[in-house]
Symmetry: C2
Subunit: 479 residues, 2 copies
């Protein structure tokens, strides 16, 4: 039997079992059919059935009990309730330096902390060996080349590869539309500089990416926050009301696997949103950094650009969440007149992006198993997200709310209203556990009873113990 | 005899001979003493004397005539007259998109052009082999490390090395004062963002670095141009008058081996300038990108920071002119409160500089022969600059003015007033020769009868032929 076919068979079985666990056919703690039973009944090999169970176990849905068989996990994801969004004041404001910001930034990168505070993924998930091979194989002429300046718009082969990735998601994108940047944040920063006029406000989501708030603060940008649902993304009616009331120059949104929410906007929301913004001539900058990190069972999500008819959607992304955060390579896909302005700002600000970083990534995309790497990454991150969600459900008070996202690596956890996330953060740090308090994820500082948990690292015993400690800290507020 | 001593002896001899050629004791075209004569008279080995002559030949000061001996070059540098600066209107202005800008940018990087238009240096001058060795030697754990995020302020070891380089030039600088950036341009851009308040003007030199004008244009910065002498740098009296008349938020100056002038401010000018700016509380951003590229016979020039008593001097530089332009690593040395603001802007704009680029450079500075590389670079660039200057003098009309700088790799050439540098540029490009027309080096577009010639590449027959063609183009205006 070919490997493909084998994979297809056990995946189909594990998918069917998962569906019955999710819909409650098999309840929490219930014993599942034995491997032998399914082997006979379904005419599948013992190995195939066994592999399907291993798959469910890795996903945290079942557990093996020695000499007894497989059981549905006593707590299961289908009992999770999604968080709801905090009331968000939609008034224009400057982003202030929060008291927590420096502490949070430090804790997120402190190697002595349990790394639940960062959105980074473990370097075990990065294709280190492929990159090592590329470095070893660099010829003299190649080294000479990577030491010289590159074009302001970036390495042509890399731009071509990035354009190719949009096939079927955004029609007609070519290498000419791609400008390489120092990561996704620079891509967004250049877009903002290219678009916003003095006095104009930027619409952002609430909550939003913590790093963007630092950008807005550094650049003195006036923002208006739109409430954003933890499952379906930005509230379009609320956004419409903001556009009616304020002089909005642009929107910066994360439609796919939102940071920190994990939300993905349904296609009809995306379509409606783009129609609204196209109609008013307002550019939208979309951060698609997690776009390729969709989990098994879903497909590459569409972009806002997919529905754009007026050339007003600018798509920003990078390789930071898929290949190598330390190679500072991101990009923006934009048509004229934005592309030319962005390119001028890029060249003016820092000439060009690292020739070496770009070359190494172009080589990886050409020679190395990019698709296979992504498949493994998606599968491992999904397992880590599910296991972390289960561990939280097991250890946190029962009124805790969270939703397992369909991609990315983050969990947005809503705690009882009596719980102060900032205090949870401080007590966690005392226990050498880094988390992100929800309050730092918005300009207005709402979401005080929320925290963000990063799932980019393997769920080791230490992580499970850390989550138990977090659960006790949270429960302490209810005493 | 030890190599040091040998080097000392022939260098002393070549220095003495050079002094006598410069002061006219040996006139143009005159025969010099034979090797045997100097060997007997000075009690030096034949080899030592020969090496001194080879040195002078490499510097373009003497030529060997077969079977006859060494002669002073028929044209010599001591007959060069330094350019004078064009009248500069010192009124605040925005930088406009010049019609030439895109064409000039393209020509400077076009591999089909003779590369006299760029400030880049030939990759033959870069330590390609040392870098190749570093890439080959990267261990698994190192590869893993360079793929992860680095700190916003940069690699600690690299920052320590950069702080050490200021020993004797700026007292008390530590790694804590150094923020790593994506090249020198980003360092300056972050300083401007950290310092300038709305409505404030930036004082710049006229002429100035072409790339900075693109930055000011992209950022919408209002500039006031101070006339700058091609030999001694910015005119301090004119600068004082500007400060009296306008709301100046900062100055951006290149005190050492100015681009495009090659000017170096004398120490007493630097001292006077810093006293003036310190007294008025105005920050000064100094671009020291050529600071380490001083030629033999001079020493590491001082900084404006050397004389700064108020913490108002911010020093920007990079490895682009000494090690590898394509590794986008620069830095700014700044005290509080600027450092903290710059760091926030850096983190906000693009998180951090390439971990890979920083690591590779830190490894180079630790393991590779950095000082030896710099010595060779300085020596080769000096030879290229002198040879180019001589070739220009030979082929251009006699009223051409230029000064050989004491460092860097650029020649600023003043042509007869009847000559339009933009037309020279266009005709040069038709002949596949890239140069920089002087008019693009200022916001006011003065310096129309000036051109900049880059000397970063070996002076091959093709380069000499190119300069002859340029000479004919320039002479064509006088017909």
């Amino acid at each position: 039997m070919r490997e493909d076919e084998y994979r297809f068979r056990y995946k189909r079985l594990s998918g069917e079992l998962e569906a019955r666990i999710s819909d409650g056919t098999y309840g929490p703690g219930e014993k599942l059919p034995s491997i032998r039973q399914l082997h006979r009944k379904l005419n599948l090999s013992m190995t195939t059935v066994h592999q399907a169970y291993l798959d469910l176990e890795a996903a945290g849905l079942v557990e093996a009990r020695p000499k007894s068989g497989y059981y549905v996990m006593p707590v299961s994801l289908n009992r999770l309730r999604a968080p709801v969004h905090a009331p968000t004041p939609s008034t224009p404001r400057r982003v202030e330096a929060g008291a927590m910001v420096n502490s949070v930034l430090k804790a997120a990168v402190d190697p002595k902390m349990l790394p639940l505070g960062s959105s980074a993924i473990s370097s075990d998930l990065l294709p280190v060996r492929s990159f090592a091979k590329i470095f070893k194989g660099l010829s003299g002429p190649e080294v000479r080349k990577v030491m010289a300046y590159s074009l302001a718009e970036g390495n042509p082969e890399l731009r071509r590869r990035i354009a190719l990735q949009t096939l079927g998601v955004a029609d007609g994108v070519t290498a000419d539309d791609v400008v390489i940047t120092n990561g996704c944040t620079e891509a967004a920063a250049l877009c903002l500089q290219a678009i916003l006029k003095p006095g104009q406000a930027l619409v952002i989501e609430s909550p939003t990416h913590f790093g963007y708030l630092q950008l807005f603060r550094a650049y003195g940008i006036t923002v208006v926050e739109a409430p954003t649902d933890p499952v379906t993304g930005v509230d379009i009616d609320a956004l419409t009301a903001i556009l009616d009331r304020h002089d909005v120059g642009a929107c910066l949104l994360m439609p796919n696997f939102h940071n920190p929410l994990g939300a993905i906007m349904p296609d009809d929301h995306k379509r409606r949103l783009v129609r609204l913004l196209n109609g008013r001539g307002i550019p939208v900058i979309e951060d698609d950094i997690y776009g390729e990190v969709y989990f098994e069972g879903t497909a590459r999500p569409s972009l806002l650009k997919t529905y754009d008819r007026e050339g007003l959607a600018l798509t920003c992304s990078s390789f930071s969440k898929t290949l190598a955060p330390g190679l500072r390579v991101g990009w923006v896909i934009a048509g004229e007149p934005f592309r030319e302005r962005i390119l001028r700002l890029k060249a003016g600000s820092n000439v060009c992006t690292s020739t070496l970083d770009q070359y190494v990534l172009a080589r990886f995309l050409t020679d190395a198993p990019w698709e296979r790497h992504l498949r493994r990454l998606r599968s491992v991150l999904r397992q880590q997200v599910i296991r972390t969600a289960l561990a939280i459900q097991k250890s946190f008070p029962p009124d805790t709310r969270l939703a397992v996202p369909a991609g990315g690596s983050l969990l947005w956890v809503q705690l009882n209203e009596a719980v102060d996330g900032n205090v949870v953060y401080r007590r966690a740090v005392e226990n050498r556990i880094a988390i992100l308090p929800g309050a730092v994820c918005s300009a207005s500082g709402v979401h005080r009873n929320y925290i963000r948990i990063g799932c980019g690292y393997p769920v080791t015993d230490r992580v499970e113990e850390g989550i138990r400690i977090l659960g006790r800290i949270v429960a302490g507020f209810m005493d």
